[in-house]
Amino acid sequence: MRFPPTSFPRLSGSWRRARCWLWQAGLLLSAAGTLRGAPAVEEGWRDLAGYLFHDAHEVFLRASTGSERGRVLGAAASLLNDSPVTAAKVAEVEAQLRGLLADRAADEPAICARYLLARIAHLHRPAEIAEIEAGYRAVIAMAPAHPLAQLAAGKLALVLLYQRPDLGVPARLAAAAELAPIAGAAQLPETGCAYYRALAGAALYYDVLDERVLAWLVRADVLETHDIVTATSLRLQLAEVARALGHREQALAYYRQFLATAVSTDNRYRTAAERMAELAKATP
């Protein structure tokens, strides 16, 4: 069986116009649909904050709202840990971040880009210590009051404490301590507390136990961490260091503070209580 050939009637002018409007309406609808389907940049940041690097990267590639520089930053930050992480991907991220610095802008995306570039040099690809140090110093110089400068200063302190090949122990401690005004700032009190504890921790690691160690721990304590485990450990460190330096009353006060605030799951309670009692009995 054969079908007869199809014959289309010629469209009149009004029909042609109606068809044209239909096409335009269809196009508009599909564009609106595309826009509705495009995720917001915030969704990408949320994914990134939740360790969903691939999802975040997909969002940043498709995002249509928010600033373009923010979107580029998000795409780079998410690609940095998008599995599988490769040297080529890290190089691509670096290129994207350098692009954000290309017009010498000093806005937030630029500060974030500079910080991430320093981190990439430090942790994500092999680099000389001088380049790492310069990277962190560049972040601090760019915006010393910015929270990322505080992070950079803390990381730089660690480079000085453990990685600079040319420094002896006294110079390491002195150089890292010089960063205190930024690295130990109260704008990020938990981070500041971690910095002072890292300074004290490095000194103790190098078998240095002097008044500076006690002072750093005191400054960490002043920042009043809300992490109960860190807070109680800090009080014990203060008690033990004060005791070793012969500050009996100060040590007793910190032991008491520890015993008053230790959680019920802290194994150190009885050990601390007995060390305090032993110190209290000793002749001042």
């Binding site: 998000g74 942790l123 990685q163 890292a198 961490t225 992490d227």
Partner: protein, 536 residues
């Protein structure tokens, strides 16, 4: 042609028959309707197939269903051997149940972030099922826990990287020595669990002597490497407490695993350190009482030996208590492995006193999956499960220790209660890493049998420890590098989300502090490895 048609009809008939049979079975099966739009189904899965646990969960689920007739709670008990594959398949396929038991070694951070819902906000609200409890009324769900779910390095309910709670635990477990009271009474003339390490050795000797006299093949200790390490952990920890305090780098009265490894590589302690050697000598002292061929046996074999009366004592976790108490046809007692006396001339020179079990963390935590069809209902059931009343019921039926404030410890579980009034632990050579654990298990034979010798163990493994402790530091530095790198991206995300609402004390600040601390530890490790190379 005809034959082919017949075959087609036969196949079609078979298929139709199979379909009708299956449909009929499904429709006529006893129990609940397969799909009922008025019923909310909550499924929870775990791997605790030890006797008592499933029964306890069933009883609590029945209570909940009586309270909420439109809810059906289904328990899914998956054997441990199949757990990993089952879990992955369910999560990836989107078919996972509403609540799943979580553990940090089974659920890495990326899995938690992708497939589980944080329950931090829920935990900070009161548990309505404790409303009738005057002392818990004003407390949050988290504060209703005995230890208030304080995060630490080893627990499973809180992610230290994601800074969120993902699980609500139901129980606490400890390690105890279970004993056959008839055999002990026969050997000692009284049902007298040992109070000191010397008593324990004397009991082993009495049991061995009785077996010889009666010609019954009953060994004092049920054997398997798993069970032996349940004993050695406490003894190693007790023997070197003073050394741990003396070498505590950070001076916070606790030598962490990281510090122990750093100190080892720096040459500050070794297997020949007198108190570490004393720890090994304690094993030498009772290793000779293990059943012959014990090193070839596994945990189940040891349990069987004990239940069949072929061994008088079994050291294991209290998670096995329900099974032991239900299956043993003899009276069972339990005691904590006694340590030696501080100052004991042979073992106690480095000892402060009994090791504290205060930091025994709450376990068997259930997490809420993102694919749950009824997340609010699932949380409601979880609150019910961990209410004081239900936790008491769970503890009573399972014999596992309770976790909620004010829940009485059942009389049968009294010996399992953590001993909190003790001192910090010392150096446990098994806990320095997975390779350290393997080396100990592979060479435990040197510490058992008639030729047991701590010195032979030291001579046979000393070089191995030099290598594996360095390797463990390298491994830890590598693992830390991975998480530090990830946090760079994560912090970028949190920074953008929090910068408008204030960063101080927020997640950004806390995670940045955590990253700085971990990075300091990693660089300390690398410094140590560079400054103290392995000597040929």
């Amino acid at each position: 042609m005809k034959r082919s048609k017949l075959r087609t009809w036969l196949v079609a008939g078979l298929l139709a028959g199979a379909y009708l049979y299956s449909a009929g079975r499904l429709l006529l099966r006893p129990g609940h309707a397969v799909v009922d739009s008025h019923v909310e189904v909550i499924r929870f899965a775990h791997w605790q197939i030890e006797p008592g646990v499933r029964e306890a969960f069933n009883a609590i689920a029945a209570d909940y269903m009586a309270l909420h007739p439109n809810v059906r709670v289904e328990q899914m008990d998956i054997p441990g051997r199949a757990w990993k594959q089952w879990l992955r398949t369910g999560l990836i396929g989107g078919t996972a149940p509403d609540l799943i038991e979580i553990a940090s070694y089974e659920n890495p951070d990326d899995m938690l972030a992708r497939y589980f819902t944080p329950i931090t906000a829920y935990l900070e609200e009161p548990n309505p099922y404790n409303a009738a409890e005057p002392d818990l009324h004003g407390l949050s769900w988290r504060q209703s826990y005995a230890a208030e779910l304080v995060p630490n390095e080893f627990q499973h309910y809180f992610s230290l990287n994601l800074l969120e709670y993902y699980g609500a635990p139901s129980a606490v477990v400890t390690v105890r020595v279970f004993y056959n009271r008839q055999l002990v009474t026969a050997a000692l003339g009284a049902d007298r669990p040992p109070a000191t390490f010397d008593d324990f050795i004397a009991l082993c000797e009495a049991l061995a002597r009785r077996a010889e006299v009666t010609h019954q093949p009953v060994s004092p200790l049920a054997g398997s490497a798993y069970n032996l390490t349940q004993l050695t952990d406490g003894l190693f920890n007790a023997a070197s407490q003073r050394d741990a305090l003396a070498m505590d780098i950070s001076r916070d009265l606790e030598m962490t695993r990281h510090e122990a490894l750093i100190n080892y590589v720096r040459g500050r302690w070794s297997l020949t350190t007198p108190d570490v050697r004393a720890g090994l000598q304690t094993v030498e002292a009772f290793g000779r009482y293990m059943a012959p061929g014990w090193s070839q046996l596994n945990r189940e074999d040891a349990m069987l030996q004990f239940l069949q009366g072929r061994a008088a004592m079994l050291a294991t976790g209290t998670w096995d208590a329900g099974g032991i108490l239900r299956q043993a046809d003899f009276p069972v007692g339990a005691f904590r492995m006694p340590a030696f006396r501080p100052g004991d001339p042979k073992y106690g020179r480095g000892m402060l006193g009994p090791v504290s079990e205060a930091n025994t963390f709450a376990t068997m935590s259930f997490g809420l999956t993102r694919t749950s069809h009824h997340p609010e209902r699932a949380i409601d059931f979880l609150r019910f499960l961990t209410s004081r009343q239900s936790n008491a019921k769970f503890s009573r039926i399972s014999t596992w220790l309770p976790v909620i404030k004010g829940v009485p410890v059942p009389a049968v579980s009294a010996a399992f209660r953590p001993v909190e009034n003790g001192y910090v632990g010392g150096i446990n050579i098994r806990f320095l890493g997975s390779r350290a654990n393997e080396v100990l298990l592979q060479h435990l034979y040197l510490l058992s049998g008639q030729g047991a010798s701590a010195d032979a163990y030291i001579a046979g493994t000393r070089r191995l420890y030099d290598e594996i402790n360095r390797e463990e530091l390298v491994r830890l530095a590598r693992v830390n590098l991975g998480t530090l790198r990830q946090k760079d991206s994560v912090l970028a995300g949190i920074f953008q989300l929090e910068r408008g609402i204030g960063l101080a004390r927020g997640k950004f600040d806390r995670l940045a502090a955590n990253q700085l601390t971990v990075e300091a530890e990693r660089l300390q490790t690398l410094r140590t490895l560079a400054d103290y190379p392995l000597r040929p």
